[in-house]
């Protein structure tokens, strides 16, 4: 029972890590861009949700949708203004994304002040009984929404023309160009989609915890770990990597002191990389060990 309870706890945070990691993997897989500013888009999602709930309409499902849409717009703008110009230079992408973190976090400080804000959705605090255990409706919602988003993303990538174009661009950009795919359009769409998912994550986590400028830092670290664990470039690997980290973190508290949680997660990561240097679901590329 204890393992089941901790698995449920881990599933909730793991879902958030997965949502986060999938966005980063999409951007990296399609554009070869490593966007460390993904965390601040996650945070911006939390603030957008708060702003909608406070100033527009106190209807949480609508706030979720608007936050995801706002994140997508931010992503598309960032791709067009910043990352499109830096596509060929990984060091410059990293510097630009670190600069974006500073700009966005300080912008939020100016707009919303230094104190953490709360998204109040009393209905989502209702406790759902699961046998002897109890989880809040918000925790259930997080797992369900992330599940639906992942399923929708899978369908989009495998069944739609745009999704197929994204996959084609990620596999061979030159060949994709030859068959008439416009890379700029695909890249903008990829960035928008990834950023929309990140903002959705922030809006989902906001009512459960607090919304503050650094709220994306921890998911960024765990999301990156999930990508490496699952295998760079693998969407499925990122999902499973995120979920695995969430569950592993929670289960580890049954076996070791809670302050060893990160130690356990990173020890497992190192073990996996020793056995499979390309991650659980990554593919070995020519020339790699």
């Amino acid at each position: 029972m204890a393992f089941l309870e901790q698995a449920l706890n881990g599933l909730m945070m793991g879902s958030i890590y997965a949502l986060f990691a999938v966005g980063m993997v999409l951007v990296f897989g399609v554009m070869r861009v490593l966007n460390f500013a993904h965390g601040v888009i996650f945070m911006a999602g939390g603030y957008m949700c708060h702003a909608v709930m406070t100033h527009v309409v106190a209807f949480y499902p609508l706030a979720l949708l608007l936050s995801a849409a706002g994140g997508a717009v931010i992503g598309a703008v960032l791709e067009r203004l910043v990352f499109r110009r830096l596509r060929e230079s990984l060091p410059m992408q990293i510097v630009a994304s670190l600069g974006l973190i500073l700009m966005v976090q300080n912008g939020v400080l100016l707009l919303f002040g230094p104190e953490a804000v709360q998204i109040s959705v009393p209905a989502m605090r209702t406790v759902v009984p699961l046998g002897p255990l109890g989880v809040t409706l918000q925790q259930v919602l997080i797992v369900v929404v992330v599940g639906v988003a992942m399923a929708g993303l899978h369908l989009f990538l495998t069944r739609s023309r745009l999704g197929t174009a994204m996959r084609a661009a990620s596999q061979d950009l030159q060949a994709a160009r030859v068959v008439g795919i416009n890379p700029d359009r695909v890249f903008a769409l990829t960035f928008a989609l990834a950023s929309g998912l990140a903002a959705l994550g922030g809006a989902l986590l906001g009512p459960l915890f607090l919304v503050f400028p650094a709220m994306g830092d921890l998911p960024l670290l765990k999301g990156l770990t999930a990508i490496v664990l699952g295998g760079m470039g693998s969407v499925g690997g990122a999902v499973l990597g995120g979920l695995a980290i969430g569950v592993l973190e929670a289960e580890s508290t049954l076996l070791a002191p809670t302050d060893y949680r990160d130690l356990v997660v990173f020890a497992v990561l190192i073990l996996v990389l020793l056995v499979r240097p390309y991650g659980l679901f990554g593919r070995r590329l020519r020339g790699e060990p």
């Binding site: 909730m12 230094p114 921890l218 809670t258 302050d259």
Partner: protein
Amino acid sequence: MMRGIRAIALAGLLAPGLAQAADTITFGIVSATSGPLAAAGKFQINGFNLAMEKLNRDGGIEVGGKKYSVALKIYDTHCSPAEGASAMERLASVDKVPVVLGELCSPVAAAEMPVAQDNSVPFIITVPTAESLTEQGNPWTFRVNADNNQLNKSLGQLVVNRAMAPLAFIAWNNDAGRGGVKSMQALLPADVKVAYTGYFNVGEVDFSAHVSNIRRSGAKAVMLFMDEEPGALAIRQIRDAGLDVQLIGTLAMGSGRFLTRLNAQYLSGMVQYNAFPPNAPLPRIKSFNDAYVAAFKDESHGFAAQSYDALMVAADAVHRAGVLGNGEAVRKALAATRYDGVIGEIRFDAKGQANPPSYVTQWCDDGTRKIVFPEALASACGGG
């Protein structure tokens, strides 16, 4: 032309320092005015500002027969040890303040203390509670607020009297959290069972794993060694999970502000140590609370009262030292302090630690507080 521009630029650079040197004593303040601890930092800064206004209203500080007005130079350390050490270095070597005061976070204070010592600048801590800070015996560091051991003493007694064991702890994974747990465990009798101890890193927000472990441990009470924001999150997650436990918290969880983060239902019955129950029927507390409410339209807080007293103590020490620019003279004057402050009498022991009174307050069903310890001051709801 260029010479003229250079002269103007140089005058601009030097002017503030010269102006201050003439008739103003500027004290250095380190606090967190942005980030997750900004709310706590605001109480601290409000306390310093209130003291500065009071000193200036009373004519300033007399040093060597001359009156000086008081100003503050505030640096935001973001609760980061690196930024704290850097701010201390700057206050000591560039701003050349006679005393540095404040800090919110124990690990940051620990990083600032050796820098203060290296620069021969007295440092008065006003909020961090890790006992290790003053136990080191750094002669340049003083602390006006009670440390973990002093605060936990009354709380530990209450745990025994009310048979709250077995106990569980959730604490920050740093000096403040670990120090709090260690101190409480040392104070409790050996037969008081600790069923669970969980630590979390600053910035973590998910306490669900701790809540599940506490449920399985059978703990009757949970002690939270953390600040306002994580405290509010932990309490919400504990209550939302339906855990029927006695909540025990820190000073940060006994304010009107904290109530607004949650609600009376979440907090009802929770006890916490408190250095300054603002509604206590004591004249020194009432007068400070009235002044604070008049100035900031908000209930006062222990962090504000401690910081207010610290600046008063610093001003008193500079006055008694009788000279400016002599850190050793101010340090000696501080060590000999006897001051009746709003938090109680302040006098430092050989390690620079004061021993102000501490209290235990409890949240009532209606969102007010009452004092439950010391018993001589026990009050009805609304009196804490």
